[in-house]
Subunit: 329 residues, 2 copies
Amino acid sequence: MANIEDVAKLANVSIATVSRVLNNKGKYSEKTKIKVLKAIEELNYKPSSQAKHLAKVKYGFKIGVLISSRIKNILEKKRNEYGEMDFYSTVLKGIYDGANENKAEIILMTFEEFINKKKECDGILVLGSDKIPDYILNCNIHKVLVDNYIVGKKINAIISNGFDGAYYVVDKMIKRNYKRIIHIHGPLEFYGFRRRFEGYELAMKQNNLLPITYEVAETQESINYIIDLILAKKPEVVFTSNDPIAIMVLNALKSKNVKVPENVQIIGFDDIVFSASTEPSLSTVKVFKYEMGNVALERVIELINGKNLHPYVTSLFTEFIERKSTKGV
Amino acid sequence: MANIEDVAKLANVSIATVSRVLNNKGKYSEKTKIKVLKAIEELNYKPSSQAKHLAKVKYGFKIGVLISSRIKNILEKKRNEYGEMDFYSTVLKGIYDGANENKAEIILMTFEEFINKKKECDGILVLGSDKIPDYILNCNIHKVLVDNYIVGKKINAIISNGFDGAYYVVDKMIKRNYKRIIHIHGPLEFYGFRRRFEGYELAMKQNNLLPITYEVAETQESINYIIDLILAKKPEVVFTSNDPIAIMVLNALKSKNVKVPENVQIIGFDDIVFSASTEPSLSTVKVFKYEMGNVALERVIELINGKNLHPYVTSLFTEFIERKSTKGV
DNA sequence: TTGTACGCGTTATCAA
DNA sequence: TTGATAACGCGTACAA
């Protein structure tokens, strides 16, 4: 591969001039431009994105991290029932660590604040699955959605692979010879819940088992309401859309004097902080929150440097964390 | 962020020694090791993956690209009915171009040949969705699957986002006020077909339309067999799992004297070479083959450099290419 | 308008 | 066993 020096030599100019033409910065004559472009053409020269980054990192990047007012409240400790504070602060830690390594400055702001700070940003990360205003979605800044994916919009996104995690853990339970595995899920219009549902469904069907599913709201009442229906199915394992639901199921079973994991095993999804300290502690599928932030930051820097510009969704694999709400092997 | 020089200064050694400890290469005393590790700890030092790459690129990388014997045959022009030769050669072009930019040497080999060439590779790309032998899946080399995703195995993979593409194009047709949109698909045990199916299904349901689907084998007979059933539904649009099926539908409609796009519109998926030259030319959803190869190559280089090691699936967005088998706006 | 020289972080080589 | 240094490819401040 030719480098900038080869181009400079062939065009009979300095590398600085090549760079100027390439990036359309500074002054250069039309004649020089043509010489340089010809040399680039001839050598089939393509700047190395890695070296580009290394050279640019010196001057730093400015990355806006956009959150809804709701998430801002959560981060300010106003509420944390569902472990959301932990979730977002862990993702943010991944973002900040990545920023640190790339000499990037993070500007944390709400959706509204972005309107005035737009010009300062080389790129933005939009955090969380709250509704994103159109002026953000349509602005022409490099952007990456974090823990959110908008179907049909072709926006770069980082999410966790709920389909794969659900399939993996359900298939694992089936291999342990459990057959009556029930899935309790939140509303399927949410992409995340739906993908976990589909993973569960596929694992069951591929093993010739009948999927049994219940939709609930994420409230204790909603769970209590159907707990008898669930128990009537004599489930060996209850797999839920997320940890908060799993914990509510656990509560409901306790109040019915059903022993966990002896009589019913429970598996959640997310691995929120509380899951380690329930009684018994909750087996769950871990979402890699830190990595999610880290990968998102790296992705937006890539985009700023003009690398891998074609948009795509990044789905991080999960991991089964086995605690005491399942029986183990 | 601390750099290697800061660490060297604090530990009172040279940067070379820091590097030696870090990478466990060359000789150094236990005492030195402890000093260095302490300094690294204290400064929270993390080597920059970018700079690492730049330093490494000098010595080059060796990337194995693994293909099945079947794909090898296709590439050697033994057959090309389904545009597969074009598909794989375009992906390969993306791989080679990426390799070029990263000073990587590509070693193209079959699954069997890999057994003996394993030691030469810094990383491997496994191309295509033919069954991959376990000795490849289980070998401890950095690997990336290209146009393949194995559920539940947590292996890095690059695929095209069939779900999103299908949703996008079906939703677009619905917005053009067509309601009778039929989906003809291949066997749903293939992940790719299933995702396209799910995208179709979601777009229909979200618009309160009833999904109508037919499963077929990828043969002309299989299509001819159901063409009357399909026509009985008076479809305005027929959306298929891929271009080969779309072309067969086109043939079947022709032999029934059904005008395309006047009476029935057809949309394929993939954008294989032949799609531009059918009569009428085929509207389709383009899969970004070149980018798929390119991103895959970049990903494996990343892994070799120890960057973003947590595994994930990369799903490239698609694009609707409108030709003459649909009516346009 | 153009060129020189430096810096980014790492590692191999060679010398000590 | 350790240190000094060049090299990887690019962008830009500064000098010319």
